[in-house]
Assembly symmetry: C2
Homo-oligomer: 414 residues x 2
């Protein structure tokens, strides 16, 4: 057995205990939160090694910032874990049940998924967040973080493991792979004997690699090519507000928009209003011919690639469309199926859009930035699923569960 296979076997063994641990899970979570706060110095010291190495290896300041941990951030991690502990237990809920005609009592109940693998990049806070969510839903977790954060991740996971062990649950509920070479993530993707699910968290490259190479079922997260369609019946000031918010409040995140579609009958009035607001943040507009005719030469000509791209930046593609059907067709072609919005006051157009647009979240008259586990009231989230299997959209603890059927009889045979 390799090191990672052994970790898989230990995780599976520990998952049998954790699956029936009940309120002991919360006790472990509160112990983890306290332990994180009681060991701030240790975590900061480990983090300093990562930060120093990062600087030496020429990481950008924004990556250094993601990596950085201090008092406040570690307390934030601890508070996040406490929030997860305070949620209601997602395990053991009855989903459906009835008496079958032959007298069998039939009940479907929620159970943990089992063993979850998480491959993530340079954010050490994911170690605590993700582990807490997995544990709350009765899942053991094998974490494989990026090499940039290995010292921070090791400190955080060691602290969590001792805290768990002190509450009487197996320390192996949480394990961290210390080998950060590509070989270790490749091996994790092959570990179908022990892993029930693999969740990649990070950039598009990481996610694609996992989806393409994993033999373990994967939940794909986080790719967002999102749209706002300004309908002929839109409140144009509201449209400009929503577009400004959805583009500029945090351009790097997956629920930010990349393209707006504007109905031709309002293009001449709407586009200048929209541009005026976007100009305050120097957003580059890449538009179709009509957009350029209305807005003038500051607009770059958009090509096919622009409509396909998740800019993650202060860049917005723009296309004037003839009909709502054209807008819906554009979204069907280019959207990543994350979050798409219509701005309209027309009842039928709103219903048509929400019915025909097939994305995880479909909005009427609100910013796509609300697609988030916290905003939706799910508490913390492990990621935003952009696939249709299992869970779609923000995934909280309830989405980290499976179910089983319990069938009770008195001797029935078939």
């Amino acid at each position: 057995m390799t090191v990672i296979e052994k970790m898989g076997a230990c995780a599976k063994e520990a998952s049998r205990t954790l699956a029936v641990a009940g309120s002991l899970k919360d006790k472990a979570l509160y112990a983890i939160a306290d332990a994180l706060e009681n060991n701030i110095d240790k975590i900061v010291k480990a983090n300093e090694i990562d930060i120093k190495a990062g600087r030496e290896n020429g990481l950008t300041e924004s990556l250094i910032d993601r990596l950085y941990l201090d008092d406040k951030r570690i307390k934030g991690m601890a508070d996040g874990v406490r929030k997860v502990a305070a949620m209601s237990d997602p395990i053991g809920k009855v989903i459906r049940g009835n008496k079958l005609p032959n007298g069998l009592k039939f009940t479907q109940v929620t159970v943990p998924l089992g063993v979850i693998g998480i491959i993530f990049e340079a954010r050490p806070n994911v170690t605590a967040d993700a582990a807490a969510l997995c544990l709350k839903a009765g899942n053991t977790v094998i974490l494989r973080g990026g090499k940039e954060a290995i010292n921070s991740n090791t400190a955080v996971s060691d602290i969590m493991r001792s805290a768990i062990a002190q509450t009487g649950l197996p320390a192996d509920c949480i394990q961290l792979i210390k080998d950060t070479t590509r070989a270790s993530s490749t091996e994790l993707m092959q570990l179908s004997e022990y892993l029930d699910v693999l969740i990649p968290r990070g950039g598009a490259g990481l996610i694609r690699a996992v989806v393409e190479n994993s033999k373990v079922p994967v939940i794909e997260t986080g790719v967002g090519n999102c749209h706002v369609y300004v309908d002929s019946e839109a409140d144009l000031d509201m449209a400009a507000e929503i577009i400004f918010n959805a583009k500029t409040s945090r351009p790097s995140v997956c629920n930010a928009i990349e393209t707006i579609l504007v109905h031709k009958t309002v293009a001449e009035t709407a586009l200048p209003k929209i541009k005026e607001k976007l100009d305050t943040k120097n957003v580059e507009i890449r538009g179709c011919e009509i957009t350029k005719a209305v807005l003038g030469d500051s607009v770059v000509t958009a090509d096919e690639t622009d409509y396909e791209t998740e800019f993650g930046d202060y860049i917005l593609a723009c296309k004037v469309v003839d009909t709502i059907d054209d807008a819906i067709a554009h979204i069907a072609k280019y959207s990543s199926g994350h979050s798409d919005c219509i701005v309209t006051n027309d009842y039928n157009n709103a219903n048509k859009f929400t019915s025909e647009v097939d994305s995880a979240a479909v909005y009427v008259n609100a910013s796509t930035r609300f697609t988030d586990g916290g905003e939706f009231g799910f508490g913390a989230e492990i990621g935003i699923s952009t696939q249709k299997l299992h869970a779609r959209g923000p995934m909280g603890v309830n989405e980290l569960t499976s179910s089983k059927f319990i069938v009770e009889g008195n001797g029935q045979v078939r």
Copy 2:
């Protein structure tokens, strides 16, 4: 674009229409059922070619029987399609909904998965069954059947396609890949741009190949290494009845049992009762040393491999265990997580078993043979999922859906 890529693009395009087709789906299903019955001659003629080729290629009689279609079987297919049509629509159901604190109206509704690929072996009836279930749930389907049934499958799918087109829905709601070389199924497994899910239906080899090679999310079905545990507090006559039924009523199916575990305190009384019934069907017993000591020399010695094997035949492995915990540990190690049963009259042992055994269906005092979409009241089933992601256990039309969030506001920004 290759032929199969084009099929993918057509399926995706058609899925946009089908997703909002409402009751037109049922009209299409009834039209399909009528068309199948009106074209019995055509189907039988195509089937005769397959049967003739099968005989020439030396297929076993049991495979020939699976392949064979006649009046009665085709009428059965049509009736199956009508049953699916009569079910309530799984699409557009509200799963949850509330008003968020910021005034956003938040609703999660069921939607189709989108495009489903199904790779199956030599049963031409799967063509109609699977296509009907997919269509009912608003999904378009690309079928890739085995070469042995290609003429039958082509006839059935052509008939279904014309029937669909006559109701005004796109014929491409159902497509059959005519190329039955390995290359076509390999290509289907790579078609992640168009396919939302891939479901293999067939033997363990096919399923393993799809799970290991697919870049499309897969639902793993049908592997069943199932157990009955005879507790110290069991009604031993009931145990013998359940074991006899679960082993011999249809040994080839996935919900049949492969191993029994017997508590040591009842082994001496229980085993002869069990053997007496099994002897009427000449079931071979492969047992541990204690089993052999009780039952004598007719029992073959069981080795590790026997506990791992889905015999699919009149063979049963048997092990005497010291405690219920040993039984649960054996199941955790060897069960495929399909269906496992305890026979007991002890309340706490029953609860312990249903709580700690992590299988899709966990039984108390009833035959594992009930794990079936029809028996569970789901109507027809597309397969029995043995994975934990998305759906677990029998999958009916409700398990062929995803969901989306509809978020309605009046200008909310974040």
